[in-house]
Point group: C2
Chain length 202, copies 2
């Protein structure tokens, strides 16, 4: 992450963003003050205000970076020539990997006062979120077309898959024994093949 010739100012901005993500994730957006962020990042309040006009701008920077990164990381990881099943598995594993690597920003971006209030969300964020869901739906639709998947409601299948991944931030322990991507792999297997033995009638 850290460049060799990094400018001190960039280092400060990085420290501010990392501290803010940590505070938003642990205390919540509302309960975090600009003072907390300045103190945690080891910068003066005047320097903090030099870089960011307010807390909202810091928050937006964190969430837009992490949203942008997720879409790109997942789109890049999916091989265009793979089967829909492989694409789905990679979609899920890569999302979980990104979550693990950007856990604090992810938790910040998931603050529900934000996502539950569509009006507050910037148009850019909404488009990004929708394009992520669309990427998943295309995989599912393509799989149905090819006969790889049998899905009565693609929208709802997408919702269920995203739910399993989205909920991880509420319980996942990074110090635990399983990596997030392995959990996502297990989720994939259950969703792809179901939990009733394959001999049974579906």
């Amino acid at each position: 992450m850290r460049g060799k010739m990094r400018e001190p100012a960039a280092d400060k901005v990085t420290a501010i963003l990392e501290t803010a993500a940590e505070l938003f994730a642990s205390k919540g957006y509302e309960a975090t003050s600009m003072r907390d962020i300045a103190q945690g990042a080891g910068v003066s309040k005047s320097l903090l205000y030099h870089h960011f006009t307010d807390k909202y701008q810091i928050f937006t920077r964190i969430t837009s970076q992490s949203g942008l990164g997720l879409n790109e990381a997942v789109a890049r990881a999916i091989p265009k020539e793979a089967s829909a099943s492989e694409q789905l598995e990679i979609f899920m594993r890569t999302t979980a990997d990104f979550f693990e690597e950007n856990r604090l920003s992810w938790i910040s971006a998931s603050q529900e006062f934000w996502t539950s209030n569509e009006a507050q969300m910037s148009l850019q964020m909404k488009l990004r979120r929708d394009s992520f869901e669309t990427m998943l739906r295309r995989i599912l639709e393509e799989g149905v077309k090819r006969g790889e998947f049998q899905i009565s409601d693609v929208r709802l299948a997408g919702r269920m898959i995203l739910s399993s991944l989205n909920w991880m931030y509420r319980w996942y322990n990074p110090a635990g024994s399983r990596a997030a991507r392995d959990i996502a792999g297990e989720y994939y297997r259950m969703i792809a093949f179901g939990i009733t033995p394959r001999g049974e009638q579906g």
Copy 2:
């Protein structure tokens, strides 16, 4: 919900709890003040403080009522003699039903500053949450024992099932065309049978 011979004081308490749940759900716990609650419920601040020492106590009342109600409703709905598959389907549908009927309390209880901070949660709430998860795991374990389910990690299967239900409060639209229980029914089918055709190898 309303009893015929209800005492006025009980009506006031109900109004306070309903208003508070609505405010916690829309603005979040932190951003809601005792003044907001009194105003919304149409009671004086002194009456509010007569019934509740602080905001935290109101919050705890709401979340404990809804947690208690969920466990009871689901336990009552599950027929002991049914197959594990039927039990799982009923578990999921009844949970979704309860969510739909108690949406605002549910959203309040899901505030993440709360659930992400185990220390803040009362022992009673933790036990209730754990016993709910345990109820689900028993169904899954029983299903594995009877050969009805094939699950490599029951804990993780339980997590995935609960994730699908828990995430609903973030997107479910009560004015939409599908009832929560029908969505849960669709989730059940996908989890039970998978999204790849049953002819295929699992």
